[in-house]
Symmetry: C2
Subunit: 340 residues, 2 copies
Amino acid sequence: MKQMIGRASIRLEKGVYIRSSASIVGKKEGEGPLGPLFDMVGEDDLFGCSTWEEAESTLQKDAVSLALGKAGLKPEEISFLFAGDLLGQSIATSFGISSFGIPMFGVYGACSTCGEALSLGAMAISGGHAERIVCVTSSHFASAEKEFRFPLEYGSQRPLSAHWTVTGSGAFVLDKERTEEARAGISGITVGKIVDYGLKDSLNMGACMAPAAASTIQQHFQDFGTAPEEYDRIITGDLGRVGKTVLLDLLKEKGYDLESRHMDCGIEIYDPDTQDPHAGGSGCGCSAVTLSAYILKQLEEKNWKKVLFLPTGALLSKTSHNEGKSVPGIAHALVIEGLR
Amino acid sequence: MKQMIGRASIRLEKGVYIRSSASIVGKKEGEGPLGPLFDMVGEDDLFGCSTWEEAESTLQKDAVSLALGKAGLKPEEISFLFAGDLLGQSIATSFGISSFGIPMFGVYGACSTCGEALSLGAMAISGGHAERIVCVTSSHFASAEKEFRFPLEYGSQRPLSAHWTVTGSGAFVLDKERTEEARAGISGITVGKIVDYGLKDSLNMGACMAPAAASTIQQHFQDFGTAPEEYDRIITGDLGRVGKTVLLDLLKEKGYDLESRHMDCGIEIYDPDTQDPHAGGSGCGCSAVTLSAYILKQLEEKNWKKVLFLPTGALLSKTSHNEGKSVPGIAHALVIEGLR
């Protein structure tokens, strides 16, 4: 029954399956390189609501409905829900998924929350505590700017190291059985720790998060006794262009060359030439919608066989920033494998 | 291996043990009825720090250190940490527990977070994913007032239905082995769902949370096939005096009489005659320090044999409140049993 390996990892002997998933994004994301792959693209980022927060709640609700629908499941057939977002007290989640009536665990790991939710969901299933789990995370450009930065109406200049928060939500149905429609399997987890290099620039979150990503990746290789070559892609959540170079440099110092197989969801989701995202996309929704729409598709189409997926989070609030605190990072990694 | 029962519950066949615990509180809590039972009482609610948020971080750090010390364990011997607080983006946690270097999961369930952390920690152990877990939650009167209500300097009047946020942190070391010093065992979990009766008064959180507590308690009795008589106490987190009457009424309607065995941590922690707490204490720290200092002691001294412990959370933020949203509630229940 023991499933732990090394310091921070879990090998899921029997595997846990991603039975279905759904991705819903905003207009800008729909116009980006991955646009045609998303399940739904909103025409208006308010999604028919009167506030940005309600819009984000609607994203979560619709993503869960769609993922359940694809799996042909009713909410009653889901044991537990793991959910989170970036807003204070996770209100996008509280008002987004309550109507399903599914017993739920709220999780918070900033933009790493998708990795945290999938890790805990997979653990609940492999531990015999659940049959089926739904994991959902979201972010919204406008609610995040309001929560962390400046009112949109100010039209603030943003430095080139800044990210653009992805408007989107990704939901995943995890199942202990390998059903016919199953998209991929989760075979391993490496749980991240908080890593703080003392950086204080909240408009350079890539650099703040890269040390945490490097730490988790190195720990993963140690715990599983593997190397970068084992994976077709090693995929970070939202390090962006600045964070990517920091990550590759940090791991090179440790003897790992990720150059040829590193991918970052935040870099993939927008076109740098036409969409002006600066360093790249970010947010709990960024890695979630990219996993659902793009990564799982590559695994299904056998372009890749096995990936290491690690959403990355920057742990700050406007209060901690205003009080001069640093921006620690955290990243949780999942081994996701194709089934066919 | 299957450990699920009913709609929302888990029976931990082998049990999970609370090996050690620690409670640290502020001055007011130290002067209350449970004062002599807490491990540490601060003389000054800043705890030597320069901001309320740092003070709350210090509470978490010291509570974890103390709980580890009592168990004679080093951070390296802890598999994972489950931690949370009430502040936006859980910053008390991010800056409180990073120095331990323990792989961690951030959780958020408002004042129910202690129940959520203990539930997930117990699941991780019983599922074979961890040997030992630390769960820690905190709240701080001044950081919470700043986060949710008014600057302290305003000296706002508070209605009698308002709660006083507990300054305190409780930490628990969970172990898969029953060591000699083990304080109690966790034998069951009922996971709460979000329950929203549409109440909007954030200064009457007891009434907002009571329906969620009633829902979880009723679900617990159904899933485990038990009745109130099974428990020496059924203990809510922080319903306070208003919420208690709502809970008892709601459950009476369903045919359950909890009158003689209900206890609320928020009511116990302050003296209503001399400490002016209004409805009672609240916060992630309230149920955590009461469990550590008082409830586990009653179980150790055989005054009680078995309790149902369910921290209760009110899911709101200042943004959701300002946008006119309701205050949904959530509550997670644990069956905690004496060992001797």
